[in-house]
């Protein structure tokens, strides 16, 4: 009995227990957590109108809002949620209960809305409380007041076969550990600039990509740079939970905009275009051509005006001076067109009016088109294209062309299976190792201490990961395996150095502990220095592995190993 007391009053063991407690709090495990957690809320959806908000991407997993039931029917997983959503009809009221409160939502059909860069005036009526003086007494009164406000114009496409509450969910997490993309599913894109760019330019590229992704309303996005040992630069984009083909295309697009006559550039995106019109009077579907149908396909043309810098206007004057005038129908045009290119791809060609010949005009109209099987679809597509072109012209072009060097789309089912499998393997491995240890030493105390320290170490590593917001992915799991493997090795060294008869002949207890830690520290330092070059190698693909290994073996060497040695000493010193 006194031995147990001795163990729990030993300073090293107390430190270990305190740190484990701290790690458990950081991990915050709730193994029976049910429900679905909100990943993001679509703007203007039923959910966002009811006051449900998107969580911040930096929020820890357990602190994100969790849906418990809808209409008093418990929602236990993603399948429950989406099958419930599919059963809904339009214009009904549903009540969603989350861990923060209850919301009342009115169901709407699934829609796809794009916010245009132009604005419109909208008349709205709302109630205001006013105080009037009637016959010398103050009377509180509510009156309707009409106001005209300016709002961004939107266009909406309605899918009247399905209901969308506007919430994107995933199965509620049971701990604060952030799973890497390969364990939770999602899309990862690795981009490489075509030529080397400076740190400032890289900043521009990153903020530009973030801005473009924000335009598409995606949350839970990581955009960061990584490099490798040869100094190659990469940009890593991770979007959890979704598989967005369009995003891939959008982020890799340089947005290099050029207007050419023949092979000569008249103006480019950026400094040549100081102003881009986004209001309704000079941007939108072209009122002159509108939409038309040919061969069963609808075409809609958009246009918006821009202003050119004086230098660009001058260039246009020079290039048009020597062109010939041709007559087409009633109109006189120049014999060459102004060709618009986006990322070296032809977007549109514009006829140049004969009156512009040789003149430095600063106001120009940019146009393009959209295609669809119905007029509505073509209209939608056309405005989407306009919006994309405007976004690129406004956010500016990237200083360099980006190449997609690696993309991963990971299905969430694969990740879930992997985690379960990893736990199963871990459990069996611990059983196997403790059996072997028992066969070697024939002492149940050592096997038990090793099992306990291994479990303690896993908890500590996960605690550190939860605390610093480090993602646990497959590479990190490999790192944890290394850390635990060398942990078991070190404990065998301690046991052997302390308990072997040969050691007892030459060294006293203190020296034997010193001997053991000499070997352990040498092994620790060599492993750490071997991991250092990996942190920067190969576009950061091995960084997770290297960092988790270093965290794991450091935790082991400085916290669990001293405690293990103390426990072995207390339990077995007098038995020798």
């Amino acid at each position: 009995m006194s031995k147990i007391k001795k163990i729990f009053t030993n300073l090293r063991v107390i430190i270990l227990l305190a740190v484990i407690l701290f790690a458990v709090v950081a991990v915050n495990p709730h193994p029976f957590n049910k429900g679905v957690t909100i990943r993001n809320v679509i703007l203007n959806s039923s959910a966002s109108l009811a006051g449900i908000e998107s969580p911040k991407p930096t929020a820890s997993p357990m602190s994100k809002e969790r849906i418990i039931s809808i209409n008093n029917k418990p929602i236990n997983n993603v399948l429950d949620y989406y099958s419930f959503e599919a059963s809904l009809k339009q214009n009904r009221t549903v009540s969603i209960k989350t861990d923060r409160g209850t919301y009342r939502l009115i169901t709407k059909y699934k829609t796809e809305t794009i916010v245009l860069n132009e604005t419109i005036n909208e008349t709205i009526t709302h109630e205001v409380d006013v105080t009037e003086i009637v016959n010398g007494t103050k009377v509180n009164k509510t009156i309707n007041k009409t106001e005209v406000i300016t709002v961004p114009k939107t266009i909406t496409k309605v899918y009247n076969d399905s209901i969308d509450l506007g919430i994107r969910v995933y199965n509620a997490p049971t701990t604060n550990i952030r799973k890497g993309l390969d364990l939770q599913g999602g899309t990862r894109v690795l981009l490489e600039p075509e030529e080397k760019i400076s740190a400032d330019e890289m900043e521009i590229v990153l903020s530009n990509i973030k801005q473009r992704l924000n335009v598409y309303g995606l949350s839970d996005i990581v955009v960061r740079t990584t490099a490798d040992l040869s100094g190659n630069q990469y940009i890593l984009i991770e979007i959890a939970g979704v598989n967005e083909e369009e995003v891939k295309e959008l982020v890799a697009r340089q947005g290099k905009f050029e207007a050419k006559i023949g092979d000569n550039i008249v103006f480019k995106g950026g400094n040549d275009i100081p102003y881009i019109c986004r209001s309704a009077d000079c941007s939108g579907i072209d009122p002159n051509t509108g939409c038309s149908q040919t061969n069963g396909q609808w075409f809609c043309r958009f246009r918006f005006s821009i202003s050119l810098s004086p230098e660009a206007a001058e260039r246009q004057a020079e290039l048009t001076e020597n062109l010939d005038i041709v007559t087409e129908g009633q109109q006189d045009y120049l014999n060459e067109t102004l060709d618009l290119y986006l990322d070296n791809q032809h977007v549109d060609s514009l006829n140049i009016g004969a009156e512009l010949k040789g003149r430095a005009i600063t106001d120009i109209q940019i146009s393009g088109s959209g295609m669809g099987t119905t007029e509505q679809a073509a209209l939608f597509e056309s405005l989407k294209n306009m919006k994309r072109l405007q976004t690129i012209l406004i956010t500016g072009s990237l200083p360099v062309k980006l190449n997609i060097v690696k993309t991963d789309a990971i299905s969430p089912a694969l990740g879930e299976k992997f985690v379960k499998n990893a736990f199963f393997i871990g459990f069996l491995a611990i059983v196997g190792v403790s059996l072997i240890v028992f066969l070697i030493y024939r002492r149940i105390e050592i096997s038990l201490s090793i099992i306990i320290t291994v479990i303690a170490e896993v908890i500590l590593i996960l605690g550190v990961a939860a605390l610093i917001g480090w993602n646990i992915d497959i590479a990190a799991i490999a790192g944890i395996i290394i850390a635990i493997g060398s942990g078991v090795d070190d404990q065998i060294v301690i046991s052997d150095e302390l308990l072997r008869k040969e050691q007892q002949i030459f060294f006293n207890w203190k020296q034997r502990i010193k001997n053991a830690f000499f070997i352990i520290m040498a092994a620790y330092f060599t492993t750490v220095v071997a991991m250092l070059p990996l942190m920067r190698a190969g576009a950061g693909l091995l960084k997770g592995f290297a960092i988790t290994t270093i965290i794991g073996i450091s935790v082991g060497v400085f916290i669990t190993r001293p405690a293990f040695a103390a426990v072995v000493e207390i339990l077995l010193k007098d038995k020798l």
């Binding site: 991963d408 393997i425 250092l532």
Partner: protein, 306 residues
């Protein structure tokens, strides 16, 4: 010490057979040293042959070569019919379809191709199999190449740093170099065996080689500490003493890794485990025969010079 031994106990161990074996190990250490040297030379031969015929040290899989891998976690897909379907869809393309198994039970399939676009392949799979859970990984060939080169540089740096730390610890250049030589031959021999059994190396496999350096250095440091830093007994006693600890370390690690190899459901994890199993077994030879032999030769030379 030897006086204490009675007839039932040998010099090094209680069990007579084991003790005999260790006596042989003691007497013939110079002859035994030939085994790892021959293996290293043969391995370099295998790798050079591979390099001269294919232009690469080892066969690389899609994740290092560039290309696309699609994994489908479904039991119901028939591999053979999928193979014939895909080769008729994409004639002349380099497509491989493999089954993922766990304990002999099929758990899914993976399809790899190096010269087809991901959308094309995915669309044709969807027409054949319908909407399933597809995991898609696409690696640009330039990144694969630079990743391999990068890891190579990282390993060189890792070796350099290890030499510095080990030299700082033992303050003797030859034993320090012997540790790195042991880790190096461990990697080379493992790479040669991987080549011979026809494993296609993936990025995960590269990580396994790095893990191997760590494990290999651990056992070698144990040996060097016992031989160089400890007093008492003869050198061979201290080596055998260290070997008991070292083999206990290796056997626990191997048992954990074999379990992981048998039950793993992920191709990446299986490859890591396979490489580690081979490497750890080779490490026994590299540490307790090669490095121990070199250390004994070194100590003999040193006492002679004194």
């Amino acid at each position: 010490m030897s006086e204490e031994n009675n007839n039932n106990e040998g010099r090094f161990a209680k069990n007579k057979q084991i003790s005999k074996l260790l006596e042989g190990y003691d007497k013939n250490y110079k002859k035994l040293l030939i085994i790892p040297i021959v293996m290293l030379i043969l391995s370099i031969g295998v790798i050079s042959y591979k390099y001269s015929t294919t232009g690469d040290f080892v066969e690389k899989d899609i994740s290092l070569k560039g290309g696309i891998t699609i994994s489908i976690p479904s039991k119901d897909v028939d591999v053979d019919s999928l193979k014939t379907y895909l080769s008729s869809e994409f004639p002349g393309s380099d497509i491989s379809v493999r089954t993922l198994t766990r304990l002999g039970e099929k758990i899914g399939i993976t399809i790899s191709a190096s010269d087809i676009g991901s959308n094309e392949l995915l669309n044709s799979l969807k027409t054949k199999l319908g909407d399933l859970d597809y995991g898609v990984e696409e690696m640009g060939s330039s990144l694969g190449k630079s990743f391999f080169k990068e890891t190579f540089i990282a390993i060189l740096f890792a070796f350099l740093f290890i030499v510095i730390v080990v030299f700082f610890y033992f303050r003797q250049p030859i034993p320090s170099l012997a540790i790195v030589l042991s880790a190096f031959s461990n990697m080379v021999v493992t790479l040669a065996i991987i080549n011979l059994i026809g494993v296609k190396l993936s990025t995960a496999g590269v990580a396994a080689f790095l893990m191997l350096i760590g494990y290999s250095v651990d056992t070698n440091i144990l040996l060097s500490t016992k031989v160089l830093k400890r007093k008492g007994g003869e050198v061979i006693d201290r080596i055998v003493n260290g070997m008991k600890t070292g083999l206990a370390m290796t056997s626990t690690t191997v048992i954990a890794i074999v379990i992981a190899y048998i039950f793993s459901q992920s191709a990446a994890l299986s490859q890591i485990m396979l490489i580690l199993i081979i490497g750890l077994l080779m490490d026994v030879l590299n540490t307790w025969v090669q490095n121990a032999g070199i250390l004994r030769l070194y100590l003999e030379r040193r006492t002679k010079n004194e």
